[in-house]
Amino acid sequence: MSCCGDHPSFEEIDEVSRLVAAKLSAFLKTLRDNGFAVGLAEGRDAASLMASGYAVRPGLLRSALKHLFSARKSDWEKFDGLFDAFWLGKRVRSRSMTSGAATAANSPSLKALQDNGEISGSQSATDQAPSADDAPEGRGGEGRMEGASRAENLAEVDFRKLADPEQIAQAHEAAARLAKAMRTRLTRRDLARRRGYRLDLRRTIHRNISHGGVPISLVKRQRKDKPLRLVVLLDASGSMSMYTGVFLRFVHGVLDQFREAEAFLFHTRLAHVSGAMKERDAARALDRLSILAQGTGGGTRIGESLATFNRYHAARVIHSRTCVMIVSDGYETGDANLLGREMAALAKRCRRIVWLNPMMAWQGYTPVAAGIRAALPHVDLYAPANTLQSLAALEPYLARL
């Protein structure tokens, strides 16, 4: 501060410190806008650290504030760019900026592909499905009836037959309810099974002081069960487009209700979406996913996506009581051998693999696609999941894990 020859007057110092404080609080706001969790305590610490000589060189200040304000690796990587842009007036060349630019550049082509994907999706659907086999005649009509029986009927209708937006909304509701119910029932069973198996000496002594220290009534320690963890890998490619909506809603419900659940989306690549899915409001969560949810070009690289999962996420999200649920039709456009290998690696890690294939319920469907043939030997439960009823039928299986 004593850069100039004359000592500055107190008013001047006051003025300077006010300016610095204002600038610092503006910086804090910038950080908050960029997703940093910065509280008042951090602001105060930042001020005290600037006062104690860390502000002499920008490099030193940057490094100090970086440690103070970052809370995770993504913050850590983003910070330098933000700091330089704010304090040194450099153009931001940080990750956040480039990634933003990339999406902007990609979005038109994404949109075009999206439309294509939908068209090819519906084409493939009509190719494969003999019309109206699994939704009995008249169901659709009943769906328009008023009354309580409506949801009941919906339970048996194949998701891809749902056309009316109101029906879709109902199916979504039901999927969310189902997820909630599964959660409560699974936990209750866990709690009922609890039994003490270790002696709690501390409580035993407390209770037996009146017997002169002779431990007559023993206190057992209760065992804490590890909750079941559910990891969902959802195929969001073109060929699954009829089902993704409902499943996304189901997954959202599961993530909301299970204390331990993780969700991933894949089409040609894998995306970790637990963060976006934890949004309380379902519609907002789905909005955040809308870009990811559409397959870009219709292909599915299940093998490669699984490889990414095994490599970067498996160690973190899988523990000994984990069930991996893969929702996909098994149309692999990549290398089927790779899929087989990665499935084997995954099977070694987790307790159970459930593969839900909505097409399984279609009349005359046999798993002949190379992808599903390679994967099936490693799957513990292979089930259809084209109606709400079939989703609900999974629960007893999960409860036994």
């Binding site: 650290l49 440690h67 995770r72 690796k73």
Partner: protein, 290 residues
């Protein structure tokens, strides 16, 4: 306050080669009295930071290794039940209140790492290792302890820290930590060291490793890390390998490519990785080392 260059030097004396950012983090720890949260891949030397810090301040290192199911009685304190039972037997017939006062006194208290760390005269370094392995509940409890550094034991009263410990937490990212804990801590991401720093680490930690060999090893390891591996080798593995090479009397990696290839088992810990780094790959990597 020490400057960060002094801190880096002091750490180097203790055998830890720090980069400038870590030195800043440690100087901030002292200034702001906040815990330091270290994250990074396994084997990049997170735990070593705490050990070096204890060495710099010539103070005790108290380590709490976290695991699933860690609870208060293993982390904070526990009564010595066997002695309590004996005491109750020995004082049979005495006044019950007096016996109770006696068996819940200091003498029968077993201190565990967290309690130990706040009862020392000189502030120790408290290392809470792999906090991500502990449960959420324990994390919340820890948060409380880290904010006021006091513990209440129902039978004994409240114990307040005589000297505030320097706290280092490490995490491997097997579980996402709570935002509250993250906010309380200074954050430092420990990355794989660059070639120059890794060479200096090898020289500091391995007896008999010459400067040129250390540099070669560091370059080679950097090459190996760039291969598509399932388990990327950390600094600990590098040191193992350096020790193996020195032990086998290798002066220059180019002299004995066979030995180099065979000893790579120190770096590659899965079968797939081992199969991926074939003899040809080793030769290609060696070619780049120069």
């Amino acid at each position: 306050m020490k400057t960060r260059d002094e801190i880096a030097q002091a750490l180097a004396v203790c055998g830890y080669i720090a980069d400038a950012e870590l030195a800043t983090a440690i100087s901030l720890m002292q200034l702001l009295k906040r815990p330091l949260l270290l994250e990074g891949e396994a084997g990049v030397g997170k735990t070593e930071v705490a050990k070096a810090l204890a060495c710099v301040h010539a103070t005790e290192l108290i380590r709490l290794q976290c695991y699933e199911g860690l609870d208060q009685s293993a982390a904070l304190y526990e009564w010595n039940y066997q002695r309590q039972l004996l005491a109750i037997q020995a004082h049979r017939g005495a006044d019950a209140d007096a016996v109770e006062d006696q068996i819940f006194s200091e003498k029968y208290l077993l201190e565990r790492p967290l309690l130990a760390s706040i009862r020392r005269e000189r502030s120790p370094v408290l290392l809470i290792d792999e906090i991500d392995r502990a449960d959420d509940e324990f994390e919340a409890f820890l948060l409380e302890l880290l904010s006021d550094f006091q513990v209440s034991i129902p039978e004994l009263g409240t114990i307040t820290a005589s000297a505030v410990p320097r706290v280092v937490l490490t995490s491997n990212g097997t579980r996402e930590l709570s935002d509250a804990l993250r906010r309380r801590c200074l954050y430092h991401y420990v990355d794989y060291p660059d070639v120059d720093r890794e060479a200096r680490i090898i020289m500091a930690r391995t007896d008999g490793a010459s400067a040129s060999l250390s540099l070669q090893i560091a370059r080679m390891v950097e090459g190996v890390r760039k291969e598509e591996l399932r388990k990327v080798p950390g600094v600990a593995e590098t040191l193992d390998w350096a020790a193996a090479l020195v032990g086998l009397d290798v002066r220059d990696l180019h002299d004995l490519p066979e030995t180099v290839h065979e000893t790579l088992m120190c770096l590659l810990k899965t079968r797939e990785d081992r199969a991926r780094v074939t003899r040809e790959v080793t030769e290609r990597l060696l070619g780049k080392v120069a």
